[in-house]
Symmetry: C2
Subunit: 240 residues, 2 copies
């Protein structure tokens, strides 16, 4: 794990700093120079390999993680080990349940991930002082709530085929958002098991649905993770 001082001039915390790459979605411009200085003093840039845990379920929350690159999965586990993924986060989301003493879930790197870690107190102080930052975080929370409720429909009322199509569409829209037309190309940021745990299915069922999408000419798969969507319209039609 690479931990280095955070330099304000080469700042790449997408959600909190000015010179970020993903300016259009992040918190850039929300902070004034003083606030940026304060932030840069307390922030550390950290890399996590795929599979590494950022925050454990029911553990104390000491810091928030600003997601710069990669995909983070949020999951919950029943006592007997059954697991459900309850959300995916993409850059430039803030990872971590605001204001909670204990994290209600596990946050884990789904792919290799780069974050900027901000101590809890630092961020919460900034939120107090900065209305723009506050509004951004409120908007992120409300958006996550919308997404969670959308996914409840998927979990409760869709068939296995519709579930897998919905997930592919969700991932495509985050990882290849600019693309026009019918095609989308991307690498799945998660294993079949993760997908099953997100969809409330087994890996076998997920695999069979992938095979069906392939057979029906809607996608091609190479090397397990590389997906090409040939007909976005047909994929959408399978989402229910």
């Amino acid at each position: 794990m690479d931990i280095s001082r955070h330099d304000i001039h080469s700042c790449d915390i997408p959600s909190l700093c000015k010179s970020c790459e993903v300016r259009h979605k992040g918190m850039c411009g929300a902070l004034n120079p003083d606030e940026l200085t304060l932030l840069s003093r307390h922030t550390r840039q950290i890399e996590h390999p795929s599979g590494e845990e950022l925050v454990g379920e029911s553990t104390r929350v000491e810091a928030y993680d600003n997601l710069m690159r990669g995909v983070v999965k949020l999951s919950k586990t029943l006592e007997d080990g059954r697991q459900q993924i309850v959300g995916l986060q993409f850059a430039p989301d803030l990872v971590g349940r605001l204001y909670a003493g204990e994290s209600p879930m596990t946050a884990e790197a789904a792919s290799d991930v780069e974050v900027c870690r901000v101590p809890r107190a630092t961020l919460e102080r900034l939120i107090e002082r900065n209305p723009a930052l506050r509004k951004r975080l409120m908007d992120q929370s409300l958006r996550e709530l919308d997404e969670a409720r959308d996914w409840m429909v998927t979990l409760g009322r869709k068939t296995a085929a519709e579930k897998v199509a919905s997930l592919l569409l969700l991932i495509a829209s985050h990882l290849d958002p600019e693309a026009a037309g019918e095609r989308r190309i991307f690498d799945l940021p998660m294993s079949r098991l993760d997908m099953a745990d997100y969809l409330g299915l087994t890996i076998e069922t997920v695999s069979r649905q992938f095979s069906r999408l392939k057979k029906d000419g809607i996608i091609t798969i190479t090397a397990n993770r590389h997906i090409e969507v040939l007909s976005l319209a047909k994929l959408q039609a399978r989402c229910g």
Copy 2:
């Protein structure tokens, strides 16, 4: 529908006023006298019979509803009519998706319901001015997000028996929260169809699970809606 001027002295908007019945959970004390006067001028108290819609899916949001009595269900519907309930709201929640032009879901009275309706602009102006109110609404949003993610585990990974037990426990904790010991007594605020739509099941499956809980001596049911939980511990043990 009974619409009457809202009188500040007999104010009973639990979440926004001072003399509310559910002081411990609401927004009482968040507003100063000026703000209360502003609010009282624009607020209307409204009663909705069970089944009546407060806000429709994909319709323009013109006002928020402060829930004073009863239970509101939030639902989403797929094109072919499949329905999923994505949340329940109890007094003194604020009903309505903050800051959205269009409501992402339907809000409907599950039982008979009393609300205070606040125009969108009025509440949003108050939020700007009042940090305590702002924090309360942020906390409600974050709590709803936690609840939605908890429910995703129920929808994705629990069996029918565990789902029904989880719902009974959820309702018991809201409708008979003070009770000590092993017993809880309450009236279900929703039909078997609503419960099925919340759990991602059919009414037949819900009914069979109720019969099983009865047979196993965990609950008694009278008149379809009146529930007595005989052993809270056994009910909890069935939640997974």
